[in-house]
């Protein structure tokens, strides 16, 4: 698949793949590759940046750490796991990609992801679009009121915020309250019709988590913990995330 032969740098001095193996259960099976190519033939990212999952794994195994940790392909693998699904040895290539992402200096990682992660870490809503607790509550209440009036059959519909001890805590992707609030309503209607006992929360309401895409473990954890705490503090039994 490569246009030119890959040059190997003398003695094997790999650290990257060894480190990754140490971190994964069963070493992620990373040294069990049969080089069959099933992963690459079914990977939609094959060919981008002259890379494919088998090649990525082989390069890591050959100790080509610099190439592995600098190729932008790491940001073009969607972590879809199809390669694991088809791999006879169940090799965890996306996990290897995840660690390759992590090897990038934080400020060199893609701006769009970095910015969204950092904004989400700024307040307890976890919104990557920076929507605050007040913003969210205002939009929800405003839209609800509008629909209760405009559609009489839904005059009694509710979209509770911070209601305690209900069954479902519902997350909401920031995109709706910020850019297309009407798109929140169909789900409210369905929940209303089935009589679901649910609530939004002002804290932790945003469904997205860009720190995960960023391979920022601490940020990822902080966001998940903030959201989990919000669900627990309200005493809800089930956390529904629509992402």
């Amino acid at each position: 698949m490569a246009e030119q032969a890959i040059k190997l740098g003398g003695k094997k001095q790999s650290t990257f793949i060894d480190k990754v193996k140490e971190m994964l259960p069963e070493g992620g099976n990373l040294n069990l590759c049969l080089t069959c190519g099933a992963c690459s033939s079914g990977c939609p990212a094959t060919g981008l940046e002259g890379m494919d999952p088998r090649k990525f794994l082989r390069m890591a195994a050959l100790g080509m750490d610099e190439e592995i940790t600098s190729t932008p392909w790491s940001w073009m693998c969607s972590m879809c796991q199809r390669c694991i699904y088809v791999c006879p040895m169940k090799i965890n290539i996306p996990q290897l990609v995840y660690f390759a992402r992590q090897s990038w200096p934080r400020d060199k990682r893609p701006k769009g992801i970095l910015g969204s992660c950092d904004i989400a870490l700024r307040n307890d809503t976890c919104s990557a679009m920076g929507a605050t607790e007040e913003d969210f509550q205002f939009v929800v209440e405003d839209v609800l009121e509008e629909y209760q009036e405009a559609q009489p059959e839904f005059a009694k519909m509710l979209a509770p915020v911070n209601k305690k001890n209900v069954t479902y805590y519902l997350n909401q992707n920031s995109r709706e309250p910020v850019t297309e609030p009407d798109e929140m309503v169909p789900l409210w209607k369905i929940l209303h019709l089935v009589g679901a006992d649910w609530t939004y929360g002002t804290k932790g309401w945003a469904a997205e988590n860009y720190c995960m895409f960023m391979a920022d473990d601490d940020g990822w954890r902080k966001i998940v913990e903030t959201k989990a705490k919000a669900v627990e503090d309200l005493g809800c039994k089930v956390w529904l995330n629509t992402e």
């Binding site: 879809c80 199809r82 893609p110 992801i113 059959e153 629509t242 992402e243």
Partner: protein
């Protein structure tokens, strides 16, 4: 959701829901499907990573799968998929519409209001299944 957490049984559950909403005869399966399906390329941060050309090239497989069905609507399960599949249609001059399942569910129940139809095509924009009070007209 299918490949990473709940497996094929949840794919069957969703097929039940979709067929109940739109009618079995209107459901077109894409190939490959279920756990063997291809990712659209919206996930993993790809949409925000600043590589739109590569992202659309990644999505070519998905676009061809959708086109091969001949279906006018593609239902997407999450925001990343919705944004990516919508964009894949956009750059091809809109051969299909991209919808959330809640839109079709409410449409079939006759409770989809006039402002909740942003992602419906012209053929369904004015369709009002049961309830005249939430009508466009």
């Amino acid at each position: 959701m299918v490949r990473k957490s709940y497996g094929d049984p949840v794919a069957e559950d969703l097929r039940y829901v979709v067929k109940a909403i739109i009618g079995e005869e209107n459901f077109v399966e894409m190939y490959p499907n279920r756990s063997n399906n291809f990712c659209c390329g919206g996930g993993g941060g790809f949409l925000q990573s600043g590589f739109p050309d590569q992202r659309r090239e990644y999505g070519r497989i998905k676009a061809e799968q959708i086109l091969a069905t001949g279906a006018k609507y593609c239902i997407t399960p999450c925001h990343n998929c919705h944004a990516q599949v919508h964009d894949l249609s956009d750059v091809r001059n809109h051969p299909w519409e991209t919808v959330h399942i809640w839109t079709l569910l409410c449409l079939s129940l006759g409770i989809l209001g006039p402002n909740e139809r942003a992602y419906l095509g012209e053929d369904l924009k004015d369709v009002d299944v049961f309830h005249p009070e939430s009508s466009n007209f």
